[in-house]
Every structure is written in structure tokens, then in C-alpha cells.
């Protein structure tokens, strides 16, 4: 059933995959790379709030919102985004 070609292929697959997997273990020990997530998260938050403000403006213009609600929510969002921007600034200063 099994011819030489098959054997060779199996051998290659086996050695290749095992070698590939264990290789990092023989390297120098690496520390876990720093979490870049936090800054990214803040930036994402900023973007999300900006988008929310835009959408709010649009909803208002279309007429899905009354003025009171619109102003209230808008101010709330603006305050929030100000906080986030502040954090981003302090974060990049640290770096």
C-alpha cells in the first residue's frame, strides 16, 4: 500500500511540523511584549464617541430627536471625549 513517495511525504510533514513547533523553545527567552492594547483602546473609544456625536447630529437633523435631548446627550458625549483625549495625551507623554 505504502510506497516510497508516501513515506517521504509523511516523513517531511512530521519532521517539518515538529521542528517548526519546537523551534521557539530553543531561542533566547523573550519577555511578553508590552500591551499595546491600552492606547489602542483609548483611541478606539475616542473614535466611537466621535462617531456617536456625528450620528446624534444626524439623528437630530433628520428629526429623530428633540432639541433638549439632543443638547443633553451631546454635552455628555463631549465631556466624555474630553476625558479620553486627556488620557491619551498623558499616555503618550509617558512614552
Amino acid at each position: 500500500m505504502m510506497d516510497l513517495m508516501d513515506l517521504l511525504l509523511i516523513f517531511l510533514i512530521f519532521v517539518g511540523s515538529v521542528g517548526f513547533v519546537v523551534q521557539p523553545l530553543f531561542g533566547r527567552s523573550v519577555s511578553i511584549p508590552a500591551e499595546s492594547d491600552e492606547l489602542e483602546l483609548l483611541k478606539l473609544k475616542k473614535r466611537i464617541i466621535y462617531r456617536q456625536i456625528k450620528e446624534l447630529e444626524m439623528d437630530y437633523e433628520i428629526g429623530n430627536l428633540n432639541q433638549d435631548d439632543y443638547l443633553l446627550t451631546r454635552n455628555e458625549l463631549k465631556r466624555e471625549v474630553a476625558k479620553v483625549i486627556k488620557k491619551i495625551k498623558s499616555y503618550s507623554r509617558k512614552k
Binding site: M1, M2, M5, D6, L9, I10, I13, F14, S17, F20, V21, V22, Q23, P24, L25, G27, S29, V30, S31, I32, P33, E35, S36, D37, E40, L41, L44, R47, I48, Q52, K54, E55, M58, D59, E61, I62, G63, N64, L65, N66, D69, T73
Partner: protein, 654 residues
């Protein structure tokens, strides 16, 4: 060659166990080298599955009948495309196919997030590899596609694929469905990882939103293709029969649809976090359950289910998923609880919430109807079958309520809708719906049909109004012309307007469903020259021909359709075919009715050549008049178009 595939499967099994062990070890020691090793090992698990699949494809294309699977599902005459699609024609092949799709997805995950989600990734890989391990176990120990053909006989030619399945749509339907089924493993892995690591930041929610939209789209396309195939090939004149196999794909679609709605609230308001977890887990659970339903043989009878360990293993797996996930959610409840509350019934949020409840409730009804026969047989010994009338009767009113929500939801403001807002947004659609109601009443419609028609008018007007207002706002603000405004508006708010377009597609489908209430059918026999009446149409058999073709023998009818004013409409050519007609064994010969459909915006004329008496020169037909079916397919296209708009990457990838 098949032995290479077998070995790849064995190795894959070993590697998946190894991956889990290494990653767990990494989580203990925090030695990053171990993580890298684990990641590579996970890569290996996926690559090995793909190698095994490629080997099987190679055997299928070569027609190596020494492999039982190949002998079973292909023959020398099978066209190349269907030799390939035989990969998912049988049980073991389709399980391998499931695994290899998951492997492709898992490779994408490893590649995309190699530098992100550091806290989550080890657990994501553990979850994904565990799912792979499950399928590797099934394939290695229970149904191995590389099983050689029994030694005591030689196969000169394989069985070949059922002619019904030799159809391009049918070749595409299972893979798209599987892409959808399997795709939900990724959001599931993310959800479990987030629960375990107590990750609360919303970054991962963004990552899985796209995943779930893509898989939802695949699932939708798969379901629509299935309906299309049934309509084109099966000859009973419909596209949806509430067959358990169809339900199996419909249930995860329902929960996935609920999820892609409620995830928006989580993104915007950070609410409904527990609920979204539940939806992800339910969708994945139902996907696995669906694979189980279609592949374990439990549907034919509980006894065939008990004969093979495959069914019980699937059940254990689903139970394991549900138990572990539920336990995790309960433990993390305090973390997941949101501080914000819903404020008012007339808010966008509450619209979403009720939409979710309705989806879940439909899902429950379908689930109940699907498993009731199985349960009744297992518990009471007598099988009680649940027919389409049950599903139709139960789901029609709920579906109409959902249609109503589709129209109302987008008109509601976030948080709460003020009185003026209410009047402003609802006046025009409501008036339009009332006018529609009066017109349809006058035309003599009643009952559900009338309700559906009124709602359809309401929703279409509501959606168009939303577009109109958006365009107007931009025109006022930026002085753009309408076309410009429309394009820019969509580009700036892809997910929103894409979503509305999807809604429009769904409404078109409802138009088609309403048409189903007016189907007509008739069975009759004709000799050449004779004619028969159905509804406002007249059918005359002009001619009866026969033809010998490459792999079948065919009788072809030329059926001339005219309307009451004797105006010519079309000539239909339904065929009666016999496959394997050269086979000396009459049992091998297989009849097949190739139907012909005249498709129109208002009505389809559907013709089936049901039988022939050669000695009497008489042909038998079944003719159906199916109004508005065309709209179902149109709705399908619109839905796909809308989903693509939502998915189209914005300039800034998040």
C-alpha cells in the same frame, strides 16, 4: 497517497492535544517562548487538517476507488465539479470539510491577531483547538474518510452522486452554509476567552462584530441557495418545507441575527453584555447542533442514532459547551452587569430588545418543532411528527410582529422618543399603511395576508422616508445634489444604511411569502394536441420528443401556455429523464424529472413532467402557478447587497 491523509489526521489529533497542553502550561509559567510554541502548534493543527482535506480532494478527483468514500460518492462519469463537491456529500467527508473550514478561519485569526488581544489569544487558541480536537477525534476514530474499500470486493466503478445533487447551486449550498456554521466558532472563542480572562474592554467586541456579520452573510446565502435549489430541482413547487435540515440552518441564523442587532447596543451603550454572551454561545451551540442533526442520522430514527457513537458524542459536546459557558457566565455575572438601564419603551434600545426576544422566541418554536419527534419517540415510544402546518401557523404571526418591529425600530430615537418626534416620524408611514389597508380591503384581501400587506407598505415607506430625510439633511447642510448626498450618506454610515437595505431585502421576501398564500396547482395527463386549463392559463401539449444524451435518456414535452385571451405566454419544456439507462440492471436505472419554470415578477409557472405512458403516447404533468416567488430571490439579492455595504471596510479599519 490516502495514507498521507490518514497520517495527517493522526498527527493533527496529537498536535491539538499538544497545543492545549502547551498553552495551559504557558498560562502557568508565563514563559513567552511557550506561547510562541503553542501558537505554532495551533498553526500546525490547522495546516494538517487542510493537508488531509487536500489529499481527499486529490483522491476524489483521481477517482481512487480503493478509498471507500471515493467509491461511494463518485463514479467514472461524474463531472469534475461534482467529484470535487463529493467532498461534502457524505458524513465523513463533510466532517473533515467542517474541520478544514474551521482551520482556515483559525489560521486567519492567528494571522490577524498575532500582535493583538494578548490577554485573550492564548484562550482563544485553546478554545478553537478544543473544537478542532473534537472533530479530529470523530474523524480519526468514528468516520474516517480515508477508510479503504472492503478488501473482499473490487470496485470497477463508483456509485456516483445522486443526480438531484448534480446541480451547481447544490454544489455551492453546503459550503456557504458551512462557512456560516463554522464561522461562529470565532466569536464563541472570543467570548469564552473574555469570560475566563475577565477582559472587560470592548476592543474584542469590535473584532467579533465583523466576524459575525461575515458569517451571518454566509449563513443567509447558504439558506437562500438551499431554497433556490429546492425550488429549481425538487419539483414540489416550493422553496421552504420546514424540513429538519432546513431548520438546522435556520435556528443559528435566527440567534445570529438577534446578535448582530443587540451587539450594536453593547457597542453604543455598553448594555446587554450578558445577553450578548448568551446569544454568541447559543448560536455556536446551535451550529454544532445543526451539524449533528444533519449528519448523525438521528432524524430518520432514534435507533439509527444509537447505532453509531457519532450522535451521542455530538450531544455530549453540545452539553459540554452549554454547561461550561453557562457556568462561566454565572461566575462573571457581577462583572458583566451594566450600570445603565433602559429608560423607555419607546426607545431604539427597547426596539432592539423586543426584536431580540422575538428572534429567540421564533428560534425556540422552530427548535421545539424540530426535536419534538425525536423526544416523543425516545420518551413515549411513538413518534409524533411535526409538519409544516405547525411551523407555518406558529411562526406567521410572530414573523408579522417582527416585520412590524423592522418598520418601527428605526423610527424610534435612542433613549426615548419625544411626543413631537413620535408624531413627526410615524405620521407618514402610518397614513401610507392606512391607505394600503383600505386599498387591499377593497381588493378583497383578508386575514394574515391583509395584515402582511399593510405592514409591508408601512415598513417600505418608513425605510424610504429614512433615506429621504438623510438625503435632505445633507442637502441642506452641504448643498449636495441628491445623488451625491445619497452616496456620501451611505459611505459615512455604512452599517446603518447597509442595515436598512438588508431590511428592504427582508420586506421583499415577505412580499414573496404573501404570494405563497395564492398558489394553485393541478395534476393532469395530456396527449399531444390536447390542452388543459389552470387558473387563467391554458396549457397545450404541442409535442412530445425523445432524445438520447450522454448520461441519460430524456422525454421532452413542449407545453404551450396561453392566457384566457389566448395570448401566447411561453413554451415550457419539462423533461422526464432516466439516468444509468444503459445499465442492464433495471434497479440501477433512476428516473429524474427535470422541471421547467417560467419566471415572472407577478407569477411563476412551474411545470413538472411527472410520468409518461409510452404505449399510449400520454404524458402526465403537474403545473403550479406560484405568485410573487420572484420577490423572494430579489429580496435575497438585496439582502446580500445591503450586507456587503455594511461590511465594506471603511477607510479606517478598526
Amino acid at each position: 497517497m490516502p495514507v498521507v491523509g490518514s497520517v495527517a489526521l493522526n498527527l493533527g489529533l496529537g498536535f491539538s492535544i499538544l497545543t492545549i497542553l502547551i498553552l495551559v502550561f504557558y498560562l502557568h509559567t508565563k514563559d513567552y517562548r511557550l506561547y510562541l510554541t503553542g501558537q505554532r502548534s495551533a498553526l500546525g493543527v490547522s495546516v494538517l487538517a487542510i493537508i488531509a482535506t487536500l489529499v481527499l480532494i486529490n483522491e476524489l478527483l483521481r477517482g481512487n476507488f480503493d478509498v471507500d468514500y471515493v467509491a461511494h460518492y463518485t463514479s467514472l462519469e461524474t463531472p469534475l465539479l461534482f467529484k470535487f463537491s463529493a467532498l461534502w456529500a457524505g458524513q465523513s467527508g463533510s466532517l473533515l470539510f467542517w474541520l478544514s473550514i474551521l482551520s482556515v478561519y483559525s489560521l486567519i485569526v492567528i494571522f490577524l491577531y498575532r500582535n493583538r488581544h494578548r490577554k485573550l489569544m492564548p484562550w482563544i487558541l485553546i478554545v478553537l483547538t478544543s473544537v478542532q480536537l473534537f472533530f479530529y477525534t470523530l474523524i480519526n476514530f468514528i468516520t474516517n474518510p480515508f477508510e479503504p474499500t472492503s478488501a473482499d470486493f473490487v470496485v470497477a466503478n463508483g456509485n456516483g452522486l445522486n443526480p438531484l445533487l448534480q446541480n451547481v447551486t447544490m454544489a455551492l449550498h453546503p459550503p456557504t452554509l458551512y462557512l456560516g456554521f463554522v464561522g461562529f466558532s470565532i466569536p464563541f472563542a472570543f467570548a469564552i476567552a473574555a469570560l475566563i480572562t475577565k477582559e472587560t474592554n470592548p476592543l474584542w467586541i469590535r473584532s467579533i462584530r465583523r466576524w459575525s456579520l461575515v458569517t451571518w452573510l454566509f449563513l443567509s446565502i447558504g439558506i437562500i441557495l438551499g431554497g433556490w435549489w429546492a425550488y429549481q430541482e425538487l419539483g414540489w413547487g416550493g422553496y421552504w418545507a420546514w424540513d429538519p435540515v432546513e431548520n438546522a440552518s435556520f435556528m443559528p441564523w435566527l440567534t445570529a441575527t438577534a446578535f448582530i442587532h443587540s451587539i450594536m447596543i453593547q457597542e453604543k451603550k455598553n448594555m446587554l453584555r450578558v445577553w450578548n454572551m448568551v446569544l454568541i454561545i447559543l448560536t455556536f451551540g446551535l451550529s454544532v447542533f445543526g451539524t449533528f442533526l444533519t449528519r448523525s442520522g438521528v432524524l430518520s430514527s432514534v435507533h439509527s442514532f444509537a447505532e453509531s457513537p457519532l450522535g451521542p458524542m455530538f450531544i455530549y459536546f453540545v452539553i459540554l459547551i452549554l454547561v461550561v459557558s453557562t457556568a462561566l457566565i454565572i461566575r462573571r455575572l457581577p462583572l458583566l452587569k451594566s450600570r445603565k438601564r433602559l429608560e423607555s419603551f419607546t426607545s431604539r434600545e427597547s426596539g432592539f430588545l423586543f426584536n431580540n426576544v422575538v428572534f429567540i422566541v421564533i428560534c425556540f418554536a422552530v427548535f421545539w418543532g424540530t426535536i419534538f419527534p425525536i423526544i416523543s419517540e425516545a420518551v413515549r415510544g411513538t413518534k409524533i411528527t411535526v409538519g409544516p402546518p405547525f411551523f407555518n401557523q406558529v411562526t406567521v404571526p410572530i414573523g408579522l410582529f417582527l416585520l412590524f418591529l423592522t418598520g418601527v425600530g428605526p423610527l424610534l430615537a435612542w433613549r426615548r422618543t419625544s411626543k413631537q418626534g413620535f408624531i413627526k416620524n410615524f405620521t407618514i408611514p402610518t397614513i401610507a399603511a392606512l391607505i394600503g389597508l383600505i386599498v387591499f380591503l377593497y381588493l378583497g384581501f383578508t386575514g394574515y395576508v391583509l395584515v402582511a400587506q399593510t405592514l409591508i407598505v408601512f415598513v417600505i415607506v418608513a425605510i424610504l422616508l429614512e433615506f429621504y430625510r438623510g438625503i435632505n439633511a445633507r442637502r441642506r447642510r452641504f448643498g449636495e445634489n441628491p445623488a451625491q448626498a445619497l452616496l456620501r450618506m451611505i459611505r459615512k454610515n455604512r452599517s446603518r444604511y447597509g442595515g436598512y437595505i438588508v431590511h428592504l431585502g427582508i420586506v421583499f421576501m415577505f412580499v414573496g411569502f404573501v404570494g405563497g398564500a395564492f398558489n394553485q396547482e393541478k395534476e393532469f395527463s395530456l396527449k399531444p394536441g390536447e390542452s388543459e386549463q389552470l387558473g387563467e392559463y391554458n396549457f397545450q401539449l404541442k409535442n412530445l420528443r425523445e432524445e438520447e444524451r450522454l448520461n441519460h435518456y430524456a422525454w421532452i414535452a413542449d407545453l404551450r401556455a396561453t392566457d384566457t385571451h389566448n395570448k401566447f405566454i411561453t413554451i415550457l419544456h419539462p423533461e422526464k429523464r432516466v439516468y444509468f439507462f444503459r445499465s442492464p440492471d433495471p434497479d440501477r436505472r433512476q428516473a429524474h424529472s427535470e422541471l421547467d419554470i417560467y419566471k415572472g415578477i407577478i407569477k411563476d409557472i412551474y411545470s413538472v413532467f411527472t410520468g409518461i405512458e409510452v404505449d399510449k403516447n400520454t404524458a402526465y404533468f403537474k403545473i403550479m402557478i406560484n405568485p410573487l416567488v420572484w420577490w423572494v430571490w430579489l429580496g435575497g439579492y438585496v439582502l446580500v447587497f445591503g450586507a456587503l455595504i455594511s461590511l465594506w471596510p471603511a477607510r479606517r479599519m478598526i
